[in-house]
């Protein structure tokens, strides 16, 4: 662990490869709580109705109804962490690091401490974060929710999450990040490491609900073993100042599958640099990255990279952008084949809503505004196979909400 600290110290001023450079000192990092604190027993009852409203926008039900487990963290404090189903573990990472030696086999094993100043910060000033683990063979039928909430103006929040789907398990997570309605300016740094073991299935749907001056730097790395399936969905339809993320996944076992779906809306003044990178390292692995982005005056850089390292892999990248009311849309699809017999393709399109489509819907009786919003909703309506209906409903709700904001 000291080794990690040394590395982090060396990288504490290291600029990230992508995204605007953020001055970390411009935000106040709360001191980390004492490691063995069990204050979270206080529970979520301290949350106000307004807080709960914000969380609902990110798909978080504070009541926990319809969820197999829940993790809620406000600023640096964990409010609740519980599991309702056998075979599911939900716990704060600081506590877990103290109690369970196995956690160290996963902690900072995929993500690098010295990748950039944000990873370094998450190591040096770790507030907390969660471990969500499905034990071998456990089918966790209801989604597990995890919420990172910020309600302090000018604060920075540093979290580290481990998500582990053990052999043959099935786990669905809805991860909501949100700021309180009154918070204008804040920084969120989140490290996530995903382990999808043999024949396991993990879906991770992240819905972000930020505000105009919020800066966000998630750092995620995942590994998928033989015949494992990893669905990673990222939805950010509300305003944000700057977000930069480029999650990486390694398909390291035969027949492993990864699908990334990103839905983005860039409001005026925002900068979103969101991508995904998947390495196909074994035969019969399959990868897909789908991105739908709409800008209303913001800047969106949509990256996607697929790297086929061996023969017999299949990968597809689809990146569509709409410019609705000004702004910039920069699609950067990349394919890299490193062996004979890789099958990789991409399609990218940036444009506006076709007048022809609007008129078609108008000829069925919709007004011009109704037609436009129908097309926008359709554009964001990506069919994500294998997603439980509750999560599909949360995505639909987020899309419906953004539609009201845009029009």
């Amino acid at each position: 662990m000291r080794d990690l600290d040394d590395k982090a110290l060396q990288a504490k001023d290291k600029r990230a490869e992508f995204g605007q450079d953020i001055d970390l000192d411009a935000f106040q990092a709360e001191p980390a709580p004492s490691p063995s604190s069990v204050e979270y027993q206080a529970g979520s009852s301290t949350l106000s109705a307004a807080d709960k409203e914000r969380m609902i926008l990110s798909g978080i039900e504070v009541s926990g109804v319809g969820r197999a487990g829940s993790f809620l963290q406000k600023n640096s404090t964990v409010l609740e962490a519980f599991s309702r189903q056998d075979g599911l573990e939900v716990m704060p990472i600081r506590e877990a690091l103290e109690r369970h030696p196995w956690v160290r086999d996963y902690y900072w094993k995929l993500a690098s401490v010295d990748a950039d100043k944000y990873t370094a910060q998450a190591r040096l000033k770790l507030h907390n974060g969660y471990i969500i683990r499905a034990l071998p063979g456990s089918k966790i039928t209801y989604p597990v929710q995890a919420c990172m909430y910020l309600d302090q103006e000018g604060a920075s929040q540093h979290v580290h999450n481990l998500i582990i789907a053990e052999e043959g398990s099935e786990l669905h997570i809805i991860a909501g990040c949100a700021t309180a309605a009154h918070v204008r300016r804040a920084l969120h740094i989140g490290i996530s490491e995903f382990y999808v073991k043999k024949r396991a299935k993990l879906s991770f749907t992240m819905i972000h609900t930020w505000a105009e001056e919020i800066v966000v730097r998630p750092r995620s790395v995942g590994i998928v073993e033989e015949e494992g399936i990893f669905l990673n969905n990222y939805i950010c339809l509300m305003p944000v100042k700057s977000i930069q993320t480029y999650p990486t996944t390694y398909l390291a076992g035969k027949g492993a599958v990864a699908r990334f779906s990103n839905l983005l809306v860039g409001s005026p003044g925002s900068e979103m640099d969101v991508g995904g990178r998947i390495f196909l390292q074994e035969a019969n692995t399959r990868a897909e990255i789908i991105s739908r982005a709409i800008t209303n005056g913001g800047t969106i850089i949509s990256r996607g990279a697929l790297i086929g390292e061996v023969a017999g892999v299949k990968a597809h990248l689809e990146c569509r952008g709409l410019i609705l009311k000004g702004g910039t849309m920069h699609a950067i699809p990349e394919l890299e084949g490193r062996a004979d017999g890789v099958e990789m393709s991409h399609e990218a399109a940036v444009g506006k809503i076709a007048q022809e489509e609007i008129l078609y819907l108008m000829s069925r009786g919709l007004s011009e505004d109704e037609a436009t919003s129908t097309i926008v909703r359709g554009f964001l309506n990506v069919d994500i196979p294998d997603l439980p209906p509750q999560l599909k409903a949360e995505i639909d709700r987020a899309v419906g909400q953004s539609d009201q904001e845009m029009m």
Binding site: E356, Y360, R364, G365, E368, T374, R377, G378, L380
Partner: protein, 252 residues
């Protein structure tokens, strides 16, 4: 009633339609013949209200209202519906949702309507995404079934349709135009015909549709000019035998 008076239309600076006069009375269906590029589709799009078809003269009245400058959606709400030849794809919008949009608040049962045009398996497909010619036609008819307009404009409803489906298309058009009536006790066919209110304007290129749909009147649009108001079968026979140019010449 649809009444078009001395209609002149341009796209950009190009004249597309010249001095068109046309009347379709309640219960009537007209067939519009004409070679490629003669302006048939332009006439339908102008009646529907597409803004790129610029009306430089004349007027269009529908149900007594001057609709010359009315936006597309208001015309739709007033009761005009169009079956497109090549409609655009709407990604992410399902046929099921589209049928509901067409129903506009009315109670519509997409499942039931889809059965009528053998389209049940397509309800959860994206509108027009990857549809074949025949599938597009059935999708358009399904939408019109839900919309139930009073004036129905069909742009080549038989093009790209295989033989198996053409009678289905024909039957559905007849139904939409209230031409599928059967004798009822106590009512003569004449009375039934008089009750018919739906109006139709059908573009056909091949004439196949005439085997399935009875029409009251046929006209030829040639070089942007409307001529030869006559019996549709007669016109079709003439065109088949001597071609459009000769057919139009004999009429003028």
């Amino acid at each position: 009633m649809l009444r078009i008076e001395d209609l002149q239309v341009k796209i950009g600076d190009r004249k597309i339609l010249e001095h068109i006069d046309l009347e379709i009375h309640p219960g009537e269906t007209h067939i519009l013949f004409g070679p490629n590029g003669s302006g048939k589709t332009s006439l339908l799009m102008t009646i529907m209200g597409y803004p790129q078809y610029r009306i430089t003269g004349g007027k269009i009245f529908f149900k007594g209202e001057d609709i010359t400058n009315m936006p597309v959606n208001e015309r739709a709400r007033l009761g005009i519906g169009l079956s497109y030849q090549r409609p655009p794809t709407i990604h992410g919008l399902k046929i099921r949702q589209m049928v509901q949009i067409c129903g506009r608040g009315k109670e519509v049962d997409p499942q039931e309507l889809a059965k009528q045009v053998n389209f049940s398996e397509f309800l959860d497909r994206e509108v027009n995404a990857g549809f074949s010619g025949g599938e597009i036609k059935r999708s358009e008819l399904l939408q019109l079934l839900a919309q139930d307009p009073d004036l129905l404009l069909f742009d080549e409803p038989e093009s790209g349709v295989d033989l198996e489906n053409i009678s289905l298309i024909g039957r559905t058009i007849n139904h939409l135009l209230q031409r599928d009536m059967r004798a009822e006790p106590g009512k003569s066919m004449r009375e039934l015909r008089q009750e018919r209110k739906k109006m139709g304007l059908i573009i056909t290129h091949t004439g196949f549709i005439l085997d399935y749909v009875t029409a009251d009147k046929g006209q030829v649009l040639y070089g942007g000019v409307l001529t030869c108001a006559s019996n549709p079968r007669e016109i079709f026979k003439c065109i088949s035998e001597v071609g459009y140019e000769e057919c139009v010449r004999c009429a003028t």
